[in-house]
């Protein structure tokens, strides 16, 4: 066969097939006797030469100066979106090129992420700090699937993110294979249960209107992520001047938020003023410093204790009416409870005993009046159960808590009458109780002070000592470390705390911290700190590369208990319930043998890695070293080997 020289590939394959297996033995014999000839490239036929070297019959235009994706960039620019985070995907290749070239990679700036969960999840942290959404672009089908958990967390936490995905367009234009795998008729279906709105616009004008509408909906209360599908053909179509001139981008108007019905507020004010022991429960209430200040004003007017559920920074921890540590006795004696944006009113008012027979008991005293001001009921879906158990308030006000607060204050002022002296006496008792809280926290923090692994109280005390003179902000909540930041730290400014994950999807913390740190960097270079569990970090360690690449400095302290500790406790509980002992509870729940070297992982991604730190005495100097390294714009990780909580 090698002697024929001009057999083309198709002809060779055909001949081989005809020859069949009968020739194999003879060929093998021949190869054993002579060295194989070097393979020769088949010479192209005249037709092939013509096809590859001569212009087509009519002149084909293969380039264009402006495309649909350029217009899509124009749309995003009118919205003032600062950042577009993405892990690359071919379904949005047109858009990506337009953003980085036509859009000059500025407002929005393209941020390179290594997983779609990071692209979307960093927007979660960013929005809570910046007070406005950023955008993410996720690959068709597979990228949306990767982003789903981050979207769910943001949905549960009522946080806006503008997410774009893409699809390859009509079937006659798709490349075989991969573009079919990455195209879906209804790209939002995967995440529709936990996005506020979505659309797949079929024209550029539709893209403009849907994107502006999506932004407006995402940022209206209750806030949530939205998703727009950018059709592949629309992205890559040539856009003539004439066609472009017909397009328009609607103006974005920020609507006013839903404030409470004045009559309902009057009823609420009467109950609050008449109460002997009112309590204010607060969860995802404040978005701004004004919201915090307004709540302080209401609490002081009523001299009512504030029980913080820490969904946001709602109330200064240094104010004597901050009494969340006394929530048990306060709720037990409360005759009126005002709940502001509770994510789970039933849960906040109910004590559950998680044994074989689960039992439920009210934390509130019988007959206590409950007032709820919340946007919770404005965004309820049927499938995912994040709406929590039904709990009827006596006065249920569907409205935005922060927008309603000035009117509630006015209503309370009108009702106070001669109750002022009684309120002042109540305030004195609360002040005395508050002072006791600080002493108790210090005494409890001292108990395991010198132990190794490091106690969480010691870690927060060492950390605060290093940042106390800086403009600091926490990017993590303290739920997995006994809420020590709220017990020990003076959290007074709105931006110093941003709540938790919302949906409890593990992996939120490193990812949201990246976005929050970006917003703090842009706000003038605050010192941003994330206390990140080792289980959390392992879901997205590569966030550190994005931070290093884009010069986003923040300090991550790995709260390294070498376990998914919550799950350790669950398995222990099950083992004991079954009378089998806890010995095997470490199987499937711990990360030991080998221990993971987080500092080396950080270094591998271009961040500064410090640790492992095992002796509490070494932690302060390590934190100082980390903060010094951050000054050059680097992300820093400290691996602190710590007690479980």
């Amino acid at each position: 066969m090698s002697g024929t020289g001009n057999v083309d590939r198709r002809g060779f394959l055909k001949g081989a097939a005809v020859a069949g297996s009968a020739t194999i033995a003879a060929e093998t014999t021949a190869r054993a006797q002579t060295a194989p000839a070097a393979p020769k490239a088949a010479a192209p036929t005249a037709a092939q030469m013509a096809a590859e070297t001569q212009p087509p019959g009519e002149e084909e235009k293969l380039t264009t100066e402006k495309t649909g994706s350029d217009f899509m960039v124009d749309v995003c620019k009118t919205l003032g979106i600062e950042y577009m985070a993405a892990c690359p995907g071919s379904t949005f290749r047109g858009l990506q090129e337009s953003f980085i070239n036509y859009g000059k990679n500025s407002k929005p700036e393209w941020l390179t992420c290594l997983h779609e969960e990071v692209s979307v999840g960093m927007g979660h942290g960013y929005a809570k700090v910046a007070g406005k959404p950023m955008a993410a672009m996720v690959h068709g089908t597979v990228g949306t699937q990767h982003s789903a958990m981050a979207l769910y967390n943001a949905w549960c936490d009522r946080v806006p993110i503008i997410v774009f995905t893409a699809s390859a367009g009509p079937i006659e234009d798709r490349r075989p294979g991969i573009e079919w795998y990455h195209t879906v008729q209804d790209g939002a279906a995967t995440v529709r249960d936990f996005t506020k709105w979505d659309d797949y616009p079929w024209s550029l004008q539709g893209f403009a209107e849907s994107t502006v509408r999506a932004y407006q909906l995402a940022t209206s209360q209750p806030q949530a992520p939205v998703l727009i599908t950018a059709d592949g053909k629309l992205q890559e179509m040539a856009l003539t001047k004439a066609a472009n001139a017909k397009l328009s981008i609607p103006k974005l108007n920020h609507p006013t938020q839903v404030a409470a019905d004045p009559n309902a507020l009057r009823d609420a004010a009467k109950l609050l003023v008449a109460a002997e022991n009112p309590v204010i429960l607060v969860d995802r209430y404040a978005r701004t410093q004004k919201g915090v200040n307004d709540l302080v004003r209401l609490a002081e007017l009523l001299q009512a204790p504030v029980v913080e559920n820490r969904g946001r920074m709602n109330f200064p921890t240094t104010h004597y009416l901050s009494q969340w540590e006394r929530s048990g006795p306060l709720l037990a004696q409360a005759d009126c409870i005002l709940a502001l944006e509770p994510s789970d009113l039933f849960g906040q008012l109910t004590r559950v005993r998680d044994q074989i027979e689960r039992t439920f008991a009210s934390k509130a005293r019988p007959g206590a009046k409950v007032i709820a001001i919340s946007t919770h009921d404005l965004m309820v879906r049927a499938n995912y159960q994040d709406f929590q158990r039904y709990s009827a308030a006596d006065v249920s006000i569907t409205a935005d808590g922060e927008a309603s607060m000035p009117y509630l204050i006015e209503a309370v002022q009108r009702e106070i009458g001669d109750r002022k002296s009684a309120f002042e006496a109540r305030g004195q008792k609360l002040l005395a109780a508050y002072k006791g809280l600080a002493d108790r926290a210090r005494a409890e923090a001292a108990v395991a002070w010198d132990l190794g692994p490091i106690s969480s109280a010691r870690m927060y005390a060492e950390l605060y000592n290093q940042v106390k003179d800086l403009d600091w902000a926490l990017l993590s909540d303290g739920g997995f470390s006994s809420n020590w930041p709220h017990r020990l730290w003076p959290i007074e400014k709105s931006y110093q705390f941003m709540g938790g994950s919302g949906g409890g999807g593990v992996g939120y913390q490193p990812v949201a911290a990246l976005g929050g740190a970006l917003a703090h960097r842009d706000a003038g270079g605050r010192t941003a700190i994330s206390i990140t569990g080792d289980g959390e970090f392992n879901m997205a360690p590569h966030t550190l590369w994005t931070a290093a690449h884009h010069k986003i400095p923040y300090l991550t302290i790995i709260q390294n208990n070498r376990a998914y500790h919550q799950e350790v406790m669950h398995i222990q509980h099950m083992a004991n319930r079954h009378n089998r002992g806890v010995e095997n509870a470490v199987i499937g729940t711990t990360m030991r043998d080998p221990n993971i070297s987080y500092a080396r992982i950080a270094e591998g991604y271009g961040a500064v890695g410090i640790g492992p730190i095992t002796d509490p005495k070494d932690l302060g100097p390590a934190i100082k070293r980390g903060l010094d390294a951050m000054k050059s714009g680097q992300p820093v990780l400290i691996d602190a080997v710590m007690q479980p909580r």
């Binding site: 240094t318 210090r442 108990v447 395991a448 132990l451 605060y464 000592n465 020990l488 406790m569 509980h573």
Partner: protein, 118 residues
């Protein structure tokens, strides 16, 4: 102070009579405290954690109260019945908790006073 030092301190107390009918062995109690998962919720030093379990170091409970809590937790704590923790073992753990050294005084820890001060 590390866990090893606590163990030494505990050993010094192991001969103390517990409020039970067993000759309590604090060293054995420490072994079970470590192996039977007590520290997972209450911390290596028995310091407690706000959301998982209260302080049990130098417990103020009587042994009977302690044993009742083990067998029939009032809270969501995992129950420890006789089958997996005999009374004698519980007694040893109780002795270990009682023998834990007194923690440092908060007033002697300046770092706790640079935090929330109001």
């Amino acid at each position: 102070m590390n866990i090893g030092k606590i163990a030494l301190a505990a050993l010094a107390f192991f001969a103390m009579p517990a409020a039970s009918s067993w000759a309590a062995d604090a060293a054995n109690g420490k072994k079970h405290f470590d192996n039977d998962g007590c520290w997972q919720c209450h911390g290596y030093g028995g310091q407690g954690a706000l959301l998982t379990g209260p302080q049990i170091s130098r417990t103020k409970l009587t042994f009977d109260q302690f044993l009742h809590q083990l067998r029939h937790p009032a809270s969501a704590m995992a129950p420890y019945e006789e089958a997996i923790m005999p009374d004698a073992t519980a007694s040893d753990i109780y002795a270990y908790l009682e023998a834990m050294p007194e923690p440092p005084q908060a007033k002697d820890l300046p770092l706790l006073y640079v935090t929330k001060s109001k």
